[in-house]
């Protein structure tokens, strides 16, 4: 019994430590690659006048119900935030003596390595054509793990419905399929938000930063944040004030992926552990039977 116990504990320790994982080593990692035909938006706070034409256009293009969240029964299309009826919203950052005010257009960032897609069990949220992150109803069970995962808090859930969906901007992929552009970009009267390939938008953003260095915070938000996004931001106030989180260059869900890969590389560790357990159990049972036999022997 002594031998089998030692073997058991050794086997357990090895397999267990592999299965459970220790410090995830974040080695130098290259940024996720953008799909070659990746499209997105570039929003420039210095050009936005807060007319909310984009909010209306999005609501119409996506057949959304009016959102009276700001003042229920009082105002009829006044979203408070992105929610189950609103995929695009204009918020106001009220400035003070040091920082000027700014509008902020919030919608899905269409990350290059989306946390929602990493979280989703059956791949309902997935990066599909043109790198647009879309939602597929028949694969979603409404577990809302994507809401836990997204660092920007974008996916919204239809709390008010008995048969709910997940709701978020999908870059009007239904319009793009028809050769048109997202409704918000089309509606904007001052081209504060424009649509294009990520490559072109990034180039344009950098051009503006170089041409007007005094106007902007010297960074294109989304170039590398969380691994990079397809919706980019230029701003004249610090991005944190607009509600955009300060993120490192690696996706927020990287540690999980490392862990899962280590455990599940071909299910090696679980199978190995199971094998070790079976061996131990068999040995113990044999030892137990032998003990009983020796007790019963006269």
């Amino acid at each position: 019994m002594g031998i089998s116990r030692r073997t058991a504990l050794k086997g357990l320790a090895v397999a267990g430590s592999v299965a459970v994982g220790g410090r995830a080593r974040a080695a130098e990692r290259t940024l996720p690659a953008a799909p070659p035909d990746a499209v997105g938006l570039l929003y420039d706070t210095t050009r936005c006048i807060g007319c909310k034409a984009c909010v209306v256009a999005c609501s119409e293009a996506n057949n959304l119900e009016p959102d009276d969240a700001y003042w229920p029964g009082g105002l009829y299309q006044a979203p408070l935030d992105l929610n189950e009826r609103t995929k695009n919203v204009i918020k106001l950052f009220k400035g003070d003596d040091e920082t000027p005010s700014s509008f902020m257009k919030a919608q899905c960032m269409h990350c290059l390595d989306p946390a929602c897609a990493a979280a989703c069990m059956l791949g309902a949220f997935k990066k599909r054509e043109f790198g647009i992150v879309t939602w597929q109803a028949d694969l979603c069970i409404g577990c809302r793990y994507c809401q836990i995962a997204c660092p920007y808090g974008i996916p919204k859930f239809e709390w008010s419905k008995a048969l709910p969906k997940m709701v978020k901007c999908e870059l009007c992929s239904h319009r793009i399929a028809q050769g048109r552009i997202p409704a918000c970009a089309e509606a904007c009267p001052r081209e504060a938000v424009i649509y294009g390939t990520r490559v072109a938008l990034l180039a344009e953003a950098k051009r503006r930063l170089a041409a007007y260095p005094d106007r902007y915070v010297p960074k294109v938000y989304g170039e590398s944040e969380g691994g990079g996004t397809q919706c980019l931001y230029l701003s004249h106030v610090p991005f944190e004030k607009l509600g955009l989180p300060t993120l490192s260059d690696s996706p927020t869900h990287d540690p999980v992926r490392t862990l899962q890969h280590r455990i599940n590389k071909g299910f090696f560790a679980p199978v190995a552990l199971y094998g070790a357990l079976a061996v131990v159990l068999f040995r113990n049972r044999k030892a137990g039977a032998a003990e009983r036999a020796s007790e019963e022997a006269p």
Partner: protein, 409 residues
């Protein structure tokens, strides 16, 4: 086979049973409402706090409370400490109930529950990066495993049933189980190891949205260690209460053995937790004395006090001390899980959440239901292990002995 296990017997429809049934009924009424009108109307969950009480308690904490079967499987079958065998079957029952209720709670909590069947069957759609997928599959499999592990109790009773086909079926089943249960027991150890640690990994994905006092790559290890401790703690609590309420002699000696095992587990948990905070430079946060820091300190406090209560041998052999320490340790584990899933989660300062009355009612109702089923099964089937031998009577002196004999006759 559990030698000496017998059904407890007795009336089922007692007053406590009826009270529990009433509570459970109210819970089920709210559950029906949840399906009729949706989650928004019955719960306080929102887009910021997408997971609430039903995940934090029913699934994450509830399964940890139900780790008695796992902990005892490790002790009895892997480490071959056969003397704890009488405790196994009732621990397995608690595990079976706990995990089944957890699975049911998941069905309540997810929004598009009609598609849940796809999770185990749509293999070609499985996302290997999703920790939640692993948790879901493991828990689904473990629910099956644990009821199979419990099934000998049902078949043993079936051996003496009135209907002959039931008797035949039970005999055959017991033969198969006798040979094959070993493979199931191995699964019954593998699966909880995987999913209890993964319940910790689940919150890794929140990244910076989980407060640094809880966000650590050691989450899976900490969850695994604490669930082992909670498993033993749950066995102590359940066994003590079963003995007390069914008028049986308590397994104090055995529970003392479990209490002894618990101490190093608590120590390991506290050491790793504290060491991790130190290594990540998060210790100043522990002493910031805001709400989160106070709760984290409380976690440590409960662990330390529970461990301290069980340090001496005499203390471990006292039923009252065992029970109190076990309750504290369960509270510590529960608090750690509530903190990780709710308190530590930071979707943004604009979001607020506290479980709604509906959520609380459902949770309490499901716990009541769990107890109900436990009572029925324990009374009808051979689950509770044999009572320990009676304690040695102190030999009274001569005259007292005669007097006693006269009184009792």
């Amino acid at each position: 086979m559990s030698v000496g296990a017998v059904p407890v017997g007795g009336r089922i429809l007692t007053k406590p049973f009826k009270a529990l049934a009433a509570v459970a009924a109210v819970g089920f009424a709210v559950i029906a409402l949840r399906f009729a009108v949706g989650l928004g109307a019955t719960t306080a969950m929102n887009d910021g706090y997408a997971w609430g009480l039903w995940i934090a308690y029913d699934v994450v904490t509830g399964t940890a409370f139900a780790c008695g079967g796992y902990a005892l499987a490790l002790l009895v079958y892997i480490m071959n400490r056969g003397r704890y065998h009488p405790l196994v079957r009732s621990a397995i029952l608690t595990s079976a109930m706990g995990y089944s209720i957890a699975g049911f709670s998941v069905m309540l909590d997810i929004g598009r529950w009609w598609g849940a069947w796809k999770v185990p069957f749509f293999v070609w759609r499985w996302n290997p990066n999703s920790v939640l997928l692993e948790v879901a599959l493991c828990i689904m499999a473990y629910v099956v495993v644990v009821w199979i592990e419990l099934s000998p109790a049902f078949f043993e009773r079936g051996r003496t049933a009135a209907l002959p086909w039931v008797r035949r079926l039970s005999e055959r089943a017991l033969v198969i189980l006798d040979r094959g249960l070993i493979w199931i027991v191995a699964l019954g150890f593998l699966l909880p190891t995987m999913h209890q640690s993964s319940l910790g990994s689940l919150m890794l994905i929140a990244g910076p949205r989980l407060h640094p006092l809880w966000q650590t790559p050691f989450l899976p290890l900490l969850f695994l260690i604490s669930c082992l401790g909670m498993g033993f703690g749950a066995v102590i609590v359940e066994s003590s209460m079963a003995s007390r309420f069914f008028g049986r002699r308590p397994h104090t000696q055995m529970l003392a053995g479990l209490a002894a095992i618990v101490v190093p587990i608590l120590l390991a948990f506290a050491a790793i937790r504290f060491g991790d905070l130190m290594a990540r430079g998060a210790l100043p946060l522990l002493f910031a004395f805001d709400l989160r820091s106070v709760l984290a300190l409380l976690e440590f406090g409960l662990v330390v006090v529970a461990g301290a209560m069980l340090v001496t041998r005499t203390a471990r052999h006292r039923a009252g001390t065992q029970f109190r320490a076990a309750m504290l340790l369960l509270a510590a584990g529960a608090l750690y899980r509530f903190d990780t899933y709710l308190v530590a989660f930071q979707p943004g300062p604009q979001w607020s959440y506290f479980p709604s009355l509906g959520e609380i009612v459902v949770t309490v109702g499901l716990v009541a239901f769990e107890v109900l089923v436990y009572l029925v099964l324990v009374k009808q089937f051979p689950i509770l292990g044999a009572q320990p031998a009676p304690p040695q009577r102190p030999r009274p002196s001569g005259i007292a002995r005669v007097e006693r004999a006269g009184v009792t006759g």
